[in-house]
């Protein structure tokens, strides 16, 4: 008996649609309720980041990196300055390294909280979103306390950071961590093990490890497929080799290895690991030291090119920078983790139901600002 095919219909999701997390358009070919083909169309938020970089000095690029991944701006600053410093062979004071790691890990928690909360929202759970945003707010308050900005910081500079930690920051941070750790259990009760949530995410959108690597998928999405790969551990930059933490991977405990639930849960586990790193870093940070001491007068990397990677909340953020010896970069290429995560969507979502597409897209945690640059 042959399979009966209905007429195929092309459906447009977006560019203005709440579940696309920004201005993303999905061209979906459906056969009844089943997806037969899905094509992401991007570029609606393209702001010529790379062209702009070729016309400004190295330090002027930093505020632009904020606006790429606007949910993890600290991590983007970090990735860029690490690349430039590597190109210049510049060493920064230990205190600066500690401050950077503290900020990057707080940013990871903030970004993951938003990702997890919004994922619940996509699936229909409204309350956990409010809980997580409430706690994220306290991290943003700490950022505001340090550099005055809540979302776009321009905090990390080549050779240092813009402001030293304010008085009382370490105490506030410890207070927050003491308050925050029990909250994770509450999130788990509310959302992670919720039967409806598990039904909607477990066994859905399974991403095998070899496909993930071939698509360049990185970060939590790759680890959820069971690949123990974290740049903070496998190719440590800054001072990440000084801290004890686990690299969390998915185990398929609710369904299949690499399904949506695993991608969600790896983020939840990583939040805990970030808390671990933060406790160590906050306890060890040197009291004295000038954060402006190593700021170079003129940023003029020698002729050459570099490809440097850092681990942002979304995965491997790479900067390919070519210098011609002048104060203006010849080329800056940003290899964004969300770009590669979205590229795999076409492979992941085929064959699933229409409602699962929202589950799958949400679990990849994409930010369109970083994809379109």
């Amino acid at each position: 008996m042959g399979v009966i095919h209905g007429e195929e219909m092309v459906l447009n999701i977006g560019p203005q649609h709440p579940s696309t997390h920004g201005v993303l358009r999905l061209k979906v070919k459906t056969d009844g309720e089943i997806i037969s083909e899905i094509t992401p169309v991007i570029g609606y938020l393209h702001r010529c980041f790379e062209k702009h970089c070729e016309n400004m000095t190295y330090d002027q690029v930093i505020p632009y990196t904020d606006r790429c991944d606007y949910l993890a701006a600290m991590a983007n600053n970090f990735g860029y300055v690490v690349a430039v410093e590597e190109l210049m062979e510049l060493k920064v004071p230990e205190k600066v390294e500690y401050i950077r790691v503290i900020m990057a890990e707080f940013q990871r928690i903030a970004s993951h909280l938003l990702a997890l909360g919004v994922y619940g929202l996509d699936i229909g759970a409204f309350t956990p979103f409010l809980f997580m945003l409430r706690d994220r707010e306290r991290i943003l308050d700490m950022f505001e306390m340090t550099c005055g900005a809540r979302l776009l910081y321009n905090y990390m500079w080549v050779g240092g950071v813009s402001h030293d930690l304010p008085k009382g920051f370490v105490e506030t941070a410890f207070q927050f961590l003491d308050y925050f750790e029990p909250q994770i259990d509450e999130y788990n009760k509310l959302l992670t093990y919720n039967k409806i949530f598990v039904e909607r995410t477990a066994d859905i959108g399974v991403l095998p490890a070899d496909v993930a690597i071939s698509y360049g998928v990185s970060g939590p999405n790759l680890r959820a497929s069971g690949v123990k790969w974290d740049l903070r551990r496998n190719a440590p930059y800054s001072i990440y080799d000084k801290f004890e933490f686990d690299v969390c991977i998915g185990d398929g405990s609710k369904g299949t290895l690499g399904d949506c639930w695993d991608r969600y849960y790896v983020r939840m586990l990583e939040v805990k690991e970030s808390v671990k790193i933060l406790r160590q870093a906050l306890a060890q940070i040197p009291k004295d030291g000038d954060v402006h001491q190593a700021l170079p007068k003129k940023i003029r990397p020698p002729k050459g090119s570099i490809y440097s990677r850092t681990e942002t909340p979304r995965g491997d953020l790479g900067f390919y920078i070519e210098s011609d010896g002048s104060p203006i970069p010849n080329r800056v290429k940003m290899r964004s983790p969300a770009f590669t995560a979205l590229a795999v969507l076409g492979e992941l979502a085929g064959g699933w139901m229409m409602s699962d597409v929202i589950s799958i897209l949400g679990s990849l945690d994409i930010v369109l600002g970083e994809i379109d640059r």
């Binding site: 062209k51 071939s214 360049g216 496998n234 491997d316 790479g318 390919y320 640059r373």
Partner: protein, 233 residues
């Protein structure tokens, strides 16, 4: 500056270096005081660099000695392996930063780089284009092996008139989007790509923005595109 003044400055700088700043601060003439202070800063910086430069130089010498015979640099090592397997595929001398290849065999080489167990470059980390000037364009690939944890950079140069490079989209699947973006921004064509369209810009956009001589089109669908007065600001 008179000789007297120079002598005075030199004396005060010496005192300053020894930690005695009172005399310098007591100078009434603002210009002179400024000169002394700047000379002092210069002297301090010079002292610092001489103390820190010495170990760095030592290290550099040690490195070059260790490096010479069979190079450990992955670009040297793997470049030699590629040349041994695919003769005549190198486009330039081997060096530490990258492997320069000709476009002709690129698909076969890429396939081999991924499938050969001792190399196993399973991850295409980054791919981008570059406008080299003098009518040349270049495609660059940063490859990484998750199993062996080694990485290389491959560069392929083509002329603007014949900007064709074999597509590796079927080897590393992310190449699909990476190559579309490079085509979009630089106008390099990837032969064999199954979905060769622009990535970020609309399909009917004119020109390739990341080329250095790019000029923005006047209008797009009847909408005038605002010109920035003096270059990009």
């Amino acid at each position: 500056m008179s000789a007297d003044q120079e002598k005075l400055i030199a004396e005060l700088v010496e005192k300053g270096l020894a930690g005695d700043m009172d005399e310098i601060n007591a100078i009434e003439d603002r210009v002179l005081r400024g000169k002394v202070k700047s000379a002092l800063a210069k002297a301090k910086r010079a002292a610092k660099t001489t103390t820190t430069a010495a170990p760095a130089e030592e290290k550099r010498v040690a490195e070059t000695i260790a490096d010479t015979p069979p190079s450990d640099n992955p670009n040297q090592k793997f470049g030699q392996i590629i040349e041994d397997t695919f003769q005549g595929s190198l486009d330039a001398e081997l060096n530490d930063t990258h492997i320069q290849l000709k476009p002709d065999n690129w698909f076969e080489i890429a396939k081999w780089l991924k499938s050969e167990p001792s190399l196993h470059f399973d991850s295409l980390q980054c791919h981008t284009g570059m406008d080299m000037g003098e009518n040349m364009l270049e495609a660059r690939y940063n490859l990484h092996s998750m199993t062996h944890d080694h990485k290389i950079e491959i560069r392929i140069a083509v002329s603007r008139e014949k900007a064709n490079i074999p597509s590796i989209e079927q080897i590393w699947r992310i190449g699909d989007w990476f190559e579309r973006e490079t085509y979009d921004m630089f106008g390099i064509f990837f032969d064999g790509h199954r979905d060769h369209r622009r990535m970020l810009l609309p399909e009917d956009w004119e020109g390739y923005p990341l080329r250095k001589d790019y000029e923005v089109q006047e209008t797009y669908h009847g909408i005038a595109i605002p010109k920035v007065k003096e270059g990009w600001e």
